[in-house]
Amino acid sequence: MPNASPSPLTLYGLILREIRFRKWSFLLATLAVAAAAAMIFGSEALLRVDQKRTKDFLQQKQEETEKSIQMHEELVATAGAKLQDTVRKQMLTLGFNILILPKDVDVAALHLDGSISETMPLGYAEKLANSNIVTVNHLLPSVTKRVHWTEQEMDVVVNGTRGEIPIMHRALKQPMLDAVAPGQMVVGSTIQQKLKLELGQTVTLLGRDFTISKIQTERGSIDDMSLWIDLATAQEMLGMQNLIHAILALECECAGDRISDIRREIAEILPGTQVIERYSQALTRAEARSESKRSAEEALAMARSEGKATIDRERQRRTAILQQQQSLNNVLEPTVLVLSCCIVAALAFYNFRQRKSEIGLMRALGFGSRSILGAFLGKAILLGALGGLIGVAVGIAIIATRIVRMQPSVSLIEIWTATSLTSTAAGIPVLMILLTVVASWLAAFQAIRQDAAIVLQGE
């Protein structure tokens, strides 16, 4: 045997030599600690991986829903633009019908009995026709007055009207309404029914004879009690030469919400007048368009709401699964820790029993309590660190296997970084060291308390 120079012995060397000497019990303890560490790291890491997958999945769902809603929005916007364009075109065709009246006319009275008390010059119609107004296509000046039809003993509304006043700066268009020729009369349906009038029949109105050229269909308005005759005749009969009550403007080229523009333009040309909307077709169209828009928006809101509800349901479902997993971990981890602690404590106590005389000898050699405590707890620290590191390595292998199985496209490093597993991996050996120190404490305490003299004598 070679005579080698002895290497200095330290307390740490003593611990290592003891571990090597009683390797099987140390290995058993290491396995217990490693199993606990692997289980804790594995369960914690898997929970985080699942949390991340859930987060990614929900984010992906959210993005898909938002994309889908955005596509819907674009479709609705395109359809809305087309609808608006269509409506605008329809508006160009249909136009607004507005009535230009003297400013002081009581509009309520007009609607009630069809009469208009105030007048304006006939020249206003020509003035408007000769202006550069672009919003009005057709102009029909008229007089309107409630009179007592003495020949028939009834009140009627007499309307004097004539053909369209051409708008001079534009090409002539097809007249919107036919003029009533002099000596002819158009009658409302109620009058026709009461008087049993017929087309071509001659009637006398305030001393003048008229031939009935047209009978209006029932309108359910004051028109049913109205008569239409030539404007000039009406002016003469009613003593309103060169005066008119109103100008009917047809086919205004504007969208439904531009009545204010028309008012402003006409007010500039014809001071002392007011403009009222005569028919509501355009408004109805505008409302229909608004309704379409609202329906589309409601459909979008519903799609958004359904998308959100789907994501919420998925989130709740996955959260419930994660909570179950967390609950399981909450039970599993302490159980494993306690179990591991018990195994380590039992092995440490067994180790103490094996080393009683050795500890007695240490006392005889002058080892203080601190050194004996150090010998036991130093071993516990090594055990915890080694078991913890092995456990974490096994845990990483478990995670890697699971990731490969579930998400082959994702690397372990990506998952590792995203789930902040470094701190867990570093923390678990520390936790295991704490566990083994706590578990070995009783044995170490027994070791420093034992009476060395008794033990050495007993041997």
């Binding site: 002895p6 290497s7 012995l9 030599r17 005389s357 005889a364 050699l365 050495l456 004598q457 041997e459």
Partner: protein
């Protein structure tokens, strides 16, 4: 005076019995003394040894070592005091099974502060002195009983103690090994150290300067 024991009493109590291990024991040792304590089993010899070795506090009486009262010291200080001044030799050797011969000898210095620990050359010198150089890397289980006891004495002498306490050091040894061990102890005392030897062995008594007898805890 190196060691002075005065009026020591020690009683071991169990639930049903009381054993008076030491009864008014007084003994003193000077440097170079080789004292053998003889007596039947259970007479209190080992109790006297451990009490003198500052490991077992008496119920009453006074222990003085180099003018100091070790039992008045805090436990850790007393342990360091023991490591520095007292060496133990046991009948059962009490070698650490996972340390080789060299390490077992070195283990004695672990009780000392790092600055006071013995050098490797001291270990080598002791191994050479006890004929264990060739066995320095061997473990206790690979040694003969004589080699184990020599290793045990080498360990006891590593820190240059003032006192060696030996409990039946030759009890497990054959004639030649017993002679070697006792001669080594004798040599230590001649070198200025004190030896308190507890034994049944009459050969030890022949080497001792003084032989005292003990019976039922009383020193005669």
């Amino acid at each position: 005076m190196l060691l002075c024991l005065e009026g020591l009493n020690k009683v071991y109590s169990t639930k049903s019995t009381k054993v008076q291990a030491l009864c008014q024991v007084s003994l003193s040792l000077n440097e170079g003394d080789f004292v053998s304590v003889q007596g039947p089993s259970g007479s209190g010899k080992s109790t006297l040894l451990f009490t003198a070795g500052t490991m077992l506090a008496p119920d009453s009486g006074k222990v003085s070592f180099l003018g100091e009262s070790p039992y008045a010291m805090p436990a850790n200080e007393r342990a360091a005091f023991r490591a520095k001044h007292i060496g133990f030799v046991f009948q059962q050797f009490h070698l650490v099974p996972y340390l080789n011969v060299s390490e077992n000898v070195q283990a004695a210095s672990l009780g000392l502060p790092a600055s006071q620990r013995m050098t490797n050359s001291k270990v080598e010198q002791l191994l050479d002195q006890f004929g264990l150089t060739a066995r320095s890397r061997h473990y206790p289980s690979q040694l003969s009983v004589g080699e184990r006891q020599r290793c045990c004495i080498a360990r006891a002498l590593l820190n240059d103690p003032k006192l060696v306490l030996a409990d039946e050091p030759s009890g497990s040894l054959d004639e030649s090994n017993a002679q070697i061990v006792l001669q080594e102890l004798r040599r230590f005392s001649k070198g200025g150290g004190a030896v308190l030897l507890v034994t049944h062995d009459s050969r030890a008594a022949q080497l001792a300067d003084r032989v005292v007898h003990m019976k039922d805890g009383v020193l005669a």
